[in-house]
Chain length 367, copies 2
């Protein structure tokens, strides 16, 4: 691996000081912000995540805030998911599409009130699309990026840790719901959500100034829980089938291709900009779709580019995320497969950067 050059453009976060003190070894860049990728090693971080509790600097999940009378209308224009039944205090995973139905982002929408929303974004400048749409359609709404930085608490001991720092009622937060809790006199939204399958929360840290005080409070409170700094873990997220925008999908893909058809209510999501384009896809189904894929042989190299997938010498798909899974003792992978070769049990070949490997399309993700 090469080094990453520091610059202000690759933004630090309210938690960077804590991340550095915990010995971060590698980063990626996500929304022009530093996102840790390795502390001890991907395998050791993975094992710890499955057994204990980790604090994740995911400030790079920037918020796009919509505020004003047209906030709800604008939010529905952005996504084919029907938002009419959504209540305050709910989080919805929402595919965001352009006028052709191409995915621009796959964020979580947080409904604070009828006229105030946060969109907690994946890796693309969704702010620019939303601002452009609001301007062009002359909507009565303010769109900007507030000083709000999510902090992830992930792992089986997450409830225990948060109950100590906030109050016991954090245990009652339901999946993809959030509640308001106080820290040093400030109200923070805490949601039961996060980019792992090990359970946990995301704290929407409102204000850079309380970032490190909260970070330190969590580590002070969790010493006997073996709390550590962590980060989204490549192995665990592939096992769990958590997609990554920019890796497993781009604006070339429709939500249906990404297996997100269940989040598309194309008949009732009136006002969605990409609705017309998606109606046909919704009726006929996609011709390619995301699939879990097990790749044979020993540990694969890092998947730094799409790996073509072949059957009888013909390209039938591509793999875009892959890692060796210690728990399942195979290389777990996410790929986009043509419908002719997407059935579970289909054997194919994957051209990795260190050679061709046998592979099998799986019925389900691993966890």
């Amino acid at each position: 691996m090469a080094l990453i050059s520091p610059s202000r453009r690759l933004r630090r976060t309210p938690f960077s000081e804590g991340v550095e003190a915990q010995g971060v070894k590698a980063y990626t860049v996500y929304n022009r912000m530093l996102l840790p990728t390795v502390f001890e090693s991907p395998e050791a971080d993975y094992r710890h995540l499955k057994e204990h509790v980790q604090v994740w600097d995911v400030a790079c999940e920037r918020q796009v805030e919509l505020r004003g009378p047209d906030a709800g209308k604008l939010m529905q224009m952005l996504t084919p998911r029907d938002l009419r039944g959504m209540m305050h205090g709910q989080c919805f995973y929402v595919p965001i599409v352009d006028e052709t139905g191409g995915m621009l982002n796959d964020p979580v929408a947080v409904k604070l009130s009828e006229d105030r929303w946060w969109i907690s974004i994946a890796d693309s400048d969704l702010l620019y699309w939303v601002k452009g749409i609001a301007n062009g359609w002359r909507l009565d709404v303010l769109v900007d990026e507030p000083d709000v930085s999510p902090l992830g608490i992930q792992g089986p001991k997450s409830d225990d840790l948060l109950a100590r720092v906030f109050e016991d009622s954090v245990r009652d937060i339901k999946f993809f719901r959030f509640g308001w809790f106080q820290f040093e006199g400030r109200d923070l939204a805490i949601a039961r959500s996060g980019y792992s399958k090990q359970g946990g929360f995301e704290i929407y840290v409102d204000g850079t100034d309380i970032g490190m005080p909260l970070w330190n409070a969590l580590f002070d409170a969790g010493e006997d829980l073996n709390v550590r700094a962590g980060c989204p873990n490549l192995i665990e997220r592939i096992e769990g089938g958590l997609l990554s925008y920019g890796n497993d999908m781009t604006d070339d893909n429709t939500p249906h291709e990404c297996g997100l058809g269940k989040f598309c209510n194309t008949h009732t999501a009136i006002g969605c900009i990409g609705r017309d384009a998606l109606l046909r896809v919704a009726a006929e189904g996609p011709v390619q779709q995301i699939r879990p894929i097990a790749i044979g042989g020993d540990k694969v190299p890092g998947c730094d580019r799409p790996w073509p997938v072949y059957a009888n010498g013909t390209k039938v798909g591509q793999v875009t995320s892959a890692a060796w899974s210690p728990d399942f003792e195979t290389n777990v992978a996410i790929g986009m497969m043509r419908m002719t070769h997407w059935d579970a049990g289909t054997t194919v070949e994957v051209e990795t950067t260190d050679g061709m490997r046998p592979a099998v399309v799986q019925e389900k993700f691993w966890i």
Copy 2:
């Protein structure tokens, strides 16, 4: 420095293979794409750039293509620079602003024909803003990112190198103009432009497939010119006063604050979305502005966050790019200074990450 984790999301370029073969040591991420930052060392790369010729993988300067009857109208909506006099074959540096006059990007617009433009972007997803505006205003224009990757040729021997690979008439290309030249039967636009003050060109490589053939042809032809792989050099670009979007300016800043008032024709740029907001700024002038700053002491650390600038204990600005200059034997820096302290010769203090340093506002950049 920490390591950078490979993933498909941090896109490789058509020239990555060549960059790796030349021993790249560090990267940054720019428009979600890998941009080399160091080959031998920042100082050695700098010296070589000033004496010989380098080939730069700047594919990360992605293009936003506008095509259709409303392309010119849309282009003018994006920028306060008056584009009416612009001819085919010209490149214009164009601040791009939102409805508040905040900078969204500072790209180079390339006019291919009346109804076809490329916008060669700095580090933000300008594509999303342009697509949103085109959609909201119902313009008759196609907006997308084509498979076009700029390759920079920079340094005093640039003309000699390009004349060998293309034809002698590349020497006749004027500054910020481009011409069409053939390589392996394909027409490529070559502009006299680039992100250094050492002279040179940018080749708009149209098609990933000819990336490495062109790269190899340049190295084969330039052996006796001492051609090497290079990259935008932090030291040289600060000496030359070349601003970096995301470092020296963000969407918090107007073009006038960035010293780009000369590119804002607020009275005649009819249709520009941010024009109303900028009219007042243009009349009254900004209250803070970009300035060259010399920082005392030995080599400063990497500027990975804004460094506050103080005078008598009061914050009067910030430094966002800084490096030790071997040629000028001082730390050269770019900062945003309040008007009370922006005059040349003003002495201030800069709080770097390794302590307070004396500094002086300069009259001009160094080269």
